[in-house]
Structure formats: C-alpha cells, structure tokens
C-alpha cells in the first residue's frame, strides 16, 4: 500500500514467449499477498493462490475511442479481490495484471483510473513490458500490438540477451527502444531476475538531450510516431500547462500516446506528469531531494502529430499565462 492507502497495480505486457511468465514467477517469489489476474488459466503457468482468470469483455464509453474502453471483466475481478481483502479471507498488497501480447493496455489503465469505486482503492503503479532481445526486432515489426505496448511502457525488460552472439550486440535494440519510448527505463533480465543496471540514461537525462525535431523511428508500425522532448530550461506555469494539456487530450488524445515527465514550478519544486492517451494520473508534488534525477523535462510520444506545432502551441499557451498575471484575485472573484 502507498501513503494514499491504495493498492498498487502492475500491468505486465509483452509478446508470447518474451519471458513474461519467468518475470511473473520471480515477482511472486515471497509475495503471497500479490494477486495475479491473467487472461486465461493455462496461458501463464504459475501456481499461486491469488490467481484469477479474466477474459477480456469490454464496454465502449465516451465516443468509441479505443483507449476509453472499460474492461468489465477486470472491474468484476478487482471488486472480488477487494471484497476478499475486506472480509479478511485473502490479504492483498499488490495486483499484477498479465496483459497478453495482443492486448492494448490503455483500457486497463482507463478502467482502474475511471471506475467510481476502484479508483479509490487501486492505482496503476507501472506498466512493465518484456521484450525478447533475440526475436524482439522481428516481433516489433510484425505485431503492432507489441509496438503499442512498448510505446506506453514505464519499464522495458529485455530478455534472452544471453542468446545473442558476439556479432549481435544488444546496444542497437536498446537504442531503438529508447528512441521509441524515451520515458521508459530499460533493464535486462536473466531467467526472470531483473538486473539493477539501467541500459540507457534515465528519462530526465534523455529528455534534456533529445533533439526536439526527433527521430522518425523506422519500422512498419511506428512510421508516424514522433517524440517531443521539452527540456526544463525554465519553470512552466502549471495552470496554463494543465489547461493546454487537458484541451489537447480532449481534441487529440488518441494521437498523444504517452505524456511523462517532471515539470519545474515557479516555487522551485517539481510536479510529476504521467498519462496514457486520454487517461492522466493525478499530478504529484515531488521535492528534488526525493528523486535520483531531479532535472525537470517532459516527453510526449505522439502518433501522426506535428511536434513542431505541438511545441509552438505549448509556448503560445504559456505566454497566455502572462495575461492573467496582473489580475487581482479579490476583485476578480467578487460577485456581481
């Protein structure tokens, strides 16, 4: 549990055979209070008392947008687990949702963030995606679902690197993944045990150094993916930023795959921003002392958007904040 009293949910994605089950087994070692929700029994061979099966059953809400889709099956399973926890029949400290290689993780995030009851009891802590270091490049090109999981991930775990020969260095794949999703941590795992070492610079450092004109990622299913990294060279006006981003997500949420980073505020503190398509997590205040890389900066992973215009729009709305700077709140809020 966190300080807010909610139960963390880890979403575990990755293509079949990419080492998901090994990682899951390792996560469950010595963690009897962790519940696991899988798409179907047998697909993931783990023996665990809090194992639940949940076959995708979706309800479209809000205009038919693919990410704003409720997973009714998941709602029922999470409610059932919570009931068991409250009755004292099964203690629950964490939930892992196995997201098959063909599933879109966005509806899972949406379901937990928007359910009127569940969002007060659970929060999505992170999306981990396993990538087969040996077969990954081919899978990425052949399966758009894998590409989307990688684009949305908080953490990428490279597996099977031990199968690579000396003439197949992992650096190229790591570099491709980092270009595709600069916000994700990349680590490697051997037989489900994830190493401590990160395989690329932290997200903040990447955002600082990335060229705003970035990188068209090559690949059949990622041709129109563009990344905008906004370095923290000056504090942002939070109010103007939140108005702008909420307006952007309403109009273009399906094209803004991921928003993640730290915004430097006028008072010198930082605010974390984390969103998947239309779904934004509540921002959190963070002190510089609390994090390893205290540099601000925010990354937008987009599909089919002109990132130059995105930056121009952000700047225009930031300048708009100046118009309200001289308003005296007492007079402005007086009833007429």
């Amino acid at each position: 549990m966190t300080e807010s009293g909610r139960i963390p949910v880890t979403i575990l994605g990755g293509f079949l055979g990419s080492g998901k089950t090994s990682l899951l087994r390792h996560m469950l070692t010595g963690a009897p209070d962790t519940a696991v929700i899988v798409n179907e029994f047998g697909a993931v061979s783990v023996d665990h008392k809090l194992l639940r099966s949940s076959e995708a059953r979706v309800a479209i809400v809000g205009g038919g947008c693919a990410c704003c889709t409720r997973r009714e099956d998941l709602e029922e399973t999470l409610v059932e687990l919570l009931d068991a926890h409250d009755r004292g029949t099964a203690r629950l400290s964490r939930v892992v949702i196995e997201c098959s290689g063909l599933a879109d993780p966005a509806p899972i995030v949406f379901t937990i963030a928007h359910h009127p009851m569940l969002r007060h009891h659970y929060y999505v802590e992170r999306l981990i995606v396993t990538v087969d270091g040996y077969n990954g490049p081919g899978q990425l090109d052949a399966h758009p679902e894998v590409a989307k999981q990688i684009l949305l991930a908080d953490e990428l775990v490279l597996t099977k690197l031990d199968l690579l020969g000396d003439d197949q260095p992992a650096e190229h794949l790591v570099s491709e993944l980092a270009k595709l999703n600069p916000t994700a941590r990349i680590r490697s795992a051997l037989y489900g045990v994830v190493g401590d070492e990160e395989l690329r610079p932290a997200a903040g450092a990447a955002a600082r150094t990335a060229d705003p004109d970035t990188p068209e990622i090559s690949g059949h299913h990622t041709d129109d993916v563009r990344v905008l990294s906004v370095p923290a060279d000056a504090p942002l006006d939070w109010l103007a930023f939140s108005i702008w981003l909420s307006m952007l997500l309403h109009a273009r949420g399906e094209q803004v795959l991921r928003v993640k980073g730290l915004i430097e505020l006028d008072d010198g503190t930082l605010a974390s921003v984390n969103g998947v398509q239309h779904v934004m997590h509540m921002p959190e205040h963070i002190t510089r002392a609390a994090i390893a890389d205290p540099a601000g900066g925010i990354v937008f992973i987009t599909r089919g958007l002109d990132v130059d215009r995105l930056k121009q729009s952000l700047d225009t709305f930031q300048r708009l904040a100046d118009t309200g700077a001289n308003i005296r709140p007492a007079r402005a809020s007086r009833p007429r």
Partner: protein
Amino acid sequence: MCILCYGVAGEEHWTDARVGNESRASVRARRRAMLAQIMAVNGLGYGDDPSGVTSLISNRKGGVRVAGNLGEVWAAAESLTGRPLDPLDPAVLVRLAARRPHG
C-alpha cells in the same frame, strides 16, 4: 450532491489537483482569464460562478452549457461548436498570440 445548492459533484479531474503554492483565489482568477480568451478565439463566451466551481460556456446563438471540471468544459464547448477546440489549430494559435498583450 451539495446539500446547500443541490449541485451534483462531478468526477475529480486531474487538473483539479492543487499544484504549487499559488492561492486558490489567484488560480481561479487566472483560470477564468485564460479560459475566456481561449473560448473567445473559438467564438464562444466563458464565465463562472464566484467560487469557480461551475463554468458557463455560451455561443452567439444563445446556446449555453454548464460544466464543472476542465474535462467537462471542453466537452461542453464541443457540443456548442460541433467540433473539439483544437490547441494545434494554426488559426487559433495566431489569434491567441494576437490577443496576448491586452488579454
């Protein structure tokens, strides 16, 4: 439901989170000023109650929508214009930049 005004409380929106040390009164006043300008360049009017909880979005044909959080504000504006207000629309950006010096 508010027991004083019978207003129905909407879902908490991420933009409602208190971030930074700016006073609530200042946030409300600046929010009102910025939203009024954004609506104006899209042919809409904007107002809110003194507490800043409820927003009114209107068009020039007399259409009015009531909204709570910012998510509802954009949905209300879309229902009046028939399209989402797009912050990437070049014409909107030009008009916003032109309004900037005088608010």
